[in-house]
C-alpha cells in the first residue's frame, strides 16, 4: 500500500506527499499487556488499521508505526514495554522535524493507546508547532467515540475492555482469544473517572500507581471492563465511526 512511507523510494515519497496534500498520519500505539485475550500489540494494531482505512480515502501519507508508548502502569505484567514520556517527546519531535524538512507540514497523531499517550503527545505537539511551523492534530479513539459508545451499550473506557475487544474482533479476529477474557466491571468512584464521556465532576487522570495496577492484574489478568460484551458487529460500527471522523479531520487539513 503506497500510503506507507516505507514502501516508497524517495522520488515516490515526493509524489505521495503531493497526492496527500501535505498531510501525514503518525500511528502511535503501545506494546503492553491487554489481558488474557488480546495481544500486547493491540494499541498499535488499532492505530495501524485506522490509519490505513483513512489513508485509502484521503491519500494521506502514513509514517511507519511507533510500536512503543508510555505504559508505566502496565509493567506489572510481561510483554509491556514503556518508554519514558520525556524520551517519547524528543523521539516524536525528530520524526516530525525530519518530515517537515521534506515538506510535510500537517500531521495527525493517531493514538491507539487511548488516553495515556495523549499527555506526552500534547507536549510534543506544542513544541513542534512552536518551533517548526507545523500544524498538529491529536486523534484519540476514546475522545472520538463519545457520540456512539453509550448507544452501543458499552461502559466507560477501561483496559482490554468491550470497546477494544470488539474493535480487535472486527479487524484482527485471528489475534483475539475472546474465550479467555475475564470481566472486571468498572465500579463508579466519587469524583473520578478516566472516561472522556463522563459527564460529572472529576479529578484529572493520573496513570495508576504500581500498587493499584498489581491489584488489577491479580483480579482479572489485566482487564478493566467487560470484554464478554464484545461483538464483531459493534466493533465495525465503532471502527467506521472513527474512520469517518479521521477522514473528516484529514480533509479539514487538506484544504
Amino acid at each position: 500500500m503506497k500510503n506507507w512511507l516505507q514502501e516508497n523510494n524517495w522520488k515516490e515519497t515526493e509524489e505521495q506527499i503531493k497526492r496527500g496534500k501535505g498531510v501525514a498520519i503518525i500511528p502511535i500505539g503501545s506494546t503492553e499487556q491487554h489481558g488474557l485475550h488480546l495481544p500486547v500489540g493491540t494499541d498499535t494494531y488499532v492505530a495501524i488499521t485506522l490509519a490505513e482505512a483513512a489513508a485509502l480515502e484521503t491519500d494521506a501519507l502514513i509514517i511507519p508505526p511507533l510500536w512503543f508508548g508510555w505504559s508505566p502502569h502496565h509493567m506489572v505484567l510481561p510483554g509491556t514495554i514503556t518508554i519514558r514520556a520525556e524520551v517519547l517527546v524528543e523521539y516524536l519531535f525528530d520524526v516530525i522535524k525530519s518530515m517537515s524538512e521534506h515538506g510535510v507540514k500537517k500531521f495527525v497523531l493517531l493514538n491507539g493507546h487511548r488516553i495515556v499517550n495523549i499527555i506526552w503527545m500534547q507536549l510534543a505537539a506544542e513544541k513542534v508547532q512552536r518551533e517548526l511551523d507545523v500544524e498538529i492534530k491529536i486523534f484519540d479513539p476514546a475522545y472520538m467515540s463519545k457520540d456512539i459508545v453509550k448507544e452501543l451499550g458499552y461502559g466507560p473506557v477501561g483496559h482490554a475492555d468491550e470497546i477494544e475487544s470488539s474493535h480487535m474482533l472486527y479487524r484482527y479476529e485471528e489475534l483475539v482469544q475472546i474465550d479467555k477474557a475475564v470481566d472486571n466491571p468498572i465500579s463508579k468512584k466519587d469524583l473520578y473517572s478516566v472516561d472522556p464521556a463522563y459527564e460529572h465532576d472529576t479529578l484529572c487522570y493520573v496513570p495508576s500507581s504500581i500498587k493499584v495496577a498489581k491489584a488489577h492484574a491479580e483480579k482479572s489478568g489485566g482487564t478493566t471492563g467487560q470484554p464478554s460484551k464484545s461483538s464483531k458487529e459493534k466493533g465495525k460500527i465503532y471502527h467506521d465511526h472513527l474512520v469517518k471522523n479521521l477522514v473528516k479531520v484529514i480533509n479539514q487539513l487538506q484544504i
Copy 2:
C-alpha cells in the same frame, strides 16, 4: 493563617503536618495575560483562594504558591511568563520530594490555570508516584465544575471568560475592571472543543499556535468567552462548589 507552610517554623510545620493528616495542597497558577479586565496573576489567585478555603475546613497544609505555569500560547501579550513544561515537571518533582522526606505523602495539585497546566502535572504526578511512593490528585476547576457550569448559564471554557471573571469578582473584586471586558464568544467547531464538559466527539487539546493566539489577541484583547455575563453571585456558587469538592477530595485522602 497557619496552614501556609511559610508562616510556620520547622517545629510548627511538624505539628501542622499531623493536624492535616499528612495531606498538602500545592496551589499552582500562572502569570499570564487575562484580557483587559483581569490581572495577569488571575490563575494563581484562583488557586490560592481555593486552597485557603479548603484548608480551613480540613487543616491541610498549603505549600507556597507556584506563580508561573506553562503559557506558551499567551506570550503574544505582555505580562505573560511561561516556563518550559519539562522544567516545571522537575521543579514540582523537587517540591514534592522535599516534602515527602518530611513525612507528607499525599498531595493535591490545585490547578488555577485551567486545562493547560494539567498536561505537565500528569507527567510529574506519574513520576513522583512511581519514584517516591506518594499519592497525587490533580484538581482542576474546569473538570470539577462540569456539574454546575451549564446550570449557571455559562458557555464553554474560554480564557478570561464569564467563569473566571465571576470567580475573580467574588473573591478579588478590587483586582477586576469588568467595565474594560471585551466579549469574544466561542464559536462551535466541528470535532474540536477544549471544554471538558463537551459531550461530543473531539480532537484533543493542543495549546494554540502563536499565529492563532495573535489573532485572538487582536480581536478581543486576549479574551475568549463572554465576560459581560459575569456576576459575583454566580462566582460564589462556582467557588463554593469547587471548595466543597476540594474538601471532599482532601477528606478522602485523610482517611
Copy 3:
C-alpha cells in the same frame, strides 16, 4: 501595590514597565528551616520586603516571588524545600526570557537566601546575558551590608542569626518567636569563613554536608549565630541600609 506584576492586567503591565524604565526586580528566597524562632518562609519574606521598599522609590516592576531556592543542607529539618540548582537555573532563565520578550531588559535578582542562592544565580545571570542581551545584577544582603554589620556589633553571617532575626523583627514581628531562639555562636575556623566581610585567607563556600548539618540541627535547632542579640532597631538600620543600596543599583540601571 501596582509594582507587583501579578496585580496588573497586560495593558497596565506595559505602562508599569515604562514607568519603571525597563527595570524589574525578581525576589528570590527559600522555604527552609530557620531555627525555632523564625518561619520557614523567612528568606522569601526578606526578598519581598526589600523589593517593595525599593520599588516604591524607583517604580521598578516586581515579578512574583520565587518561594523555593537551593537548600540541600537544610533538609535535615522539616519544612525545608530544596530545588536542584540546575532546575533553578532553567526556571529563572524562562522567567527572564519571558519578560525580556515583553521589553524588560534589566533585572535585579534580589536574593533573600543569603550566600547560598548566589551560586546558581550567577550561572543563570551569565547565561541570560549571553543569550538574551539583558543586563543582570545580583543583590545579596550579606554582600550589601558589609559596611554596617560590624558597626551593629553583629557576628559573621550564620543562619537564623542576629542579623536575620533583627530584620524579621523589624518587618514581620508577628512571625517571630524570639523567646524560642537558641544561640549557637560561630566559632572561628582556620582558613574558612562563609562571611563575605571576612578579611583573611579562606577556602570557598560549599554548602554543609548532611552530616555536618545534622550536628548543627541537634545542637541548636537549626540556628548558627546569636539571635539573642537581635533588636528591632538594628533591624531597621539594616533594612534601611539595604534599601538605600538597592535603590542606588536600580537607579544606575534606569539611566
Copy 4:
C-alpha cells in the same frame, strides 16, 4: 508468527520467553533514502527478514521493529527520518529495561542500517550492560559478511549498493525497481574506507557532512556502489550466510 512479541498476549509472552531461552532479537533499521530503486524502509526490512529467519530456527523472541535510526547524512533527500543519537540511546535503553524486568536478559541488536547505527548501539549496549545486568550482542550485516562479500565479486560497502540491492531482490522483490538503479562506483581514497573488510590503514568512520551528501545525491540519486551488479541469487547466498551467523550467535547465548 508467534516469535513476534506483539502477537502474543502476556501469558503467551511468558511462554515464548522460555521457549527462546531468554534471548530476544531487536530489529533496528532506518527510514531513509535508498536511491531510486529501493524503498526508504530498506534497512528495516533487512532487519525484519533476518530476525524472522533466525527466530524460526532458535525460538528467540522478536521485539517490534525500530523503524527509525540515525541518518543525519541522508536528510538531503525526501523520506529520510533521522532521530538524534542521544535520543535513540535512551529509547533503546527503555526497551531493553522493560523486557529485562520481564526476565529477558540476553539481547541481539540486529542492525539493518549497516555501520551507521552501530555507534549509538554501542553506547546503549554498554549502558544497559552496566546498569541492568544484561548481555548484549550487536549484529551488523557488513561485519558479518566479510567472509563472503568479496567472493561474490562485490565492491566495498556503499549505500543502496549491489549488496543491499541483491538482498532486497531476494527477499522483497516487489519493492525493488532495479531498472531505475544508477551506478556510482566507489573510488579508492587514501587512508579512508568505510568498509569493515578493508585491509589497510584507515581513518575512522564519520557520517558524511551535508555538503558531501548533497554531491552524492545529485550525482546518482543517492546511490553509492554498483546496484547494476545485483542478483537475486547472490542475495540468497548473502542472506543465508547472515542467517547462519545470526543463529550461531543466538545459540551461543541460549546455552
Copy 5:
C-alpha cells in the same frame, strides 16, 4: 614525580593513595587569553605549580590537570576555550566519582582560574558531597591571598594583572613576555568589586557580557590591572604563601 596519578601503574596508585592519606588534589585551570604578555595556559600552569609544591610536602596524589574552564567572557580573543558550566559540573563529578571508587574520599579542588571557576566548582562540590560521601575543599588563590596582596602593594584582582604576572614570572619565566604587557588600571566602581578582599558593600560577581569584554580587549589587549608592577620576588612571596596555606588545608584533611 610520583604524586602525579598518570605516572603510576595501578598498583603504585594504590600505594600513593595510602601515602597521601587518601587526599587528592585536582588542579583545574583554563585555556584563555591572558593579555599580550602571558600564555593562554596561565591558569592551568598556576594550578599545576601549586599542586606540585604542596604535594611534595604532603604526599597527596595529584590528578591530571583539567586544562579547560568556564571562560565565556574571554571568547573575544583567540586561544580561549570555554566549556559550559553544566558540562564542567558533570565532568568533574565523574572524575571524583571514579577516584572515590578507588578509595580517595578527600579532594582539594585547586582553582588556577581565579574567581570564575569557583561557581561551577561549588555546584559540583555540593553534588558529590551529597551523593558520594566525600569531602571537598575549594582552594582559590584570590581568596587565599587576601592576607598579603595589599602588603605587596598590589591592586584588586583583575586579569593578567600584577598578581598573576608576578607569579608566572617566578614559576614560568620562559613563558612570560613582560615587555609586551599593557597596563589597564582598575577603576573603582560604586557598589561593585570582583575582589574577595574588597571591604565594602558590593553586588555579586557576574562574568562580563561580551560587549564589556570587547571594550577591555580593544583597550588593553585583554589585560585588567597593572602588570608593569610585577616582580619575580613578589611572585615568590605570593607563591610561598599559597603553598603554605594549601599544605595546611591538606594536612587538616589528612588527620
Copy 6:
C-alpha cells in the same frame, strides 16, 4: 614547543593557526589501568607523543590534551577514571566550538585510547560537522597500523599488550616496568574480535561488562596480550608509521 596552544599568548595563537593552515590536533587519551608494567596515563602519553611528532612536520596547532576518556570497563582496578560518553561528547563539542570561533575549521581527533574512545568521538564529530561547519578526522592507532602490525609479528589489539608496550618503551622508557608485565594471550573467539585488522565475520565491539573485566584483572593484573614480546625497536617502527600517516592526514587537510 610553540605548537602547543597553552604556551602561546593570544596574538601568537593567531599566528600559529595561520602557520598550521587552520588545522588543529586534539590529543585524547585516558587515565586507566594498563597492567602492572605501564602507567595509567599511557593512552594520553601516546596521543601526546604522536601529536608532537606530527606537529613538528606540519606546523599544526596542538590543543592541550584530554587526559580522561571513556573507560567504564577498567574501573575494576585503581587509577582508572571514566567520564560518561555523553559528557565527553559535550565537552569535546565545546572545545571544538571555541576554537572554530577563532578560525580553526579542521581538526584531527587523535585517539590514544585505541578503539574505545572512537565511539563517542564519532558522535561528537558528526555533531560538530553538522552544527559548526568544521571538518573532522578521527585518527586511531589501531586502525592506522593495520598495514604493519602483522609484519611486526604482533597479535591482535589487546590491552597493555605488545603493541602499546613497545610504543611506550620507545617513547617513555622511564615510565615502563617491563619486568613486571604478565602475559595473557588473546584466545580466538568464534565470530568476535575487537581488532580492526581481523579479516573474518565478527560481532561489533562492546566494552566488556564488569564481570568479564574482573576476571581479566585477576588473571593478569589487567593485561590482555603478550607484553613480553615488546621491543623498543618495533615500537619505533610502529611510531614512525603512525606519524607518517598522521602527517599525511594533516597535509591533506592543509591543502
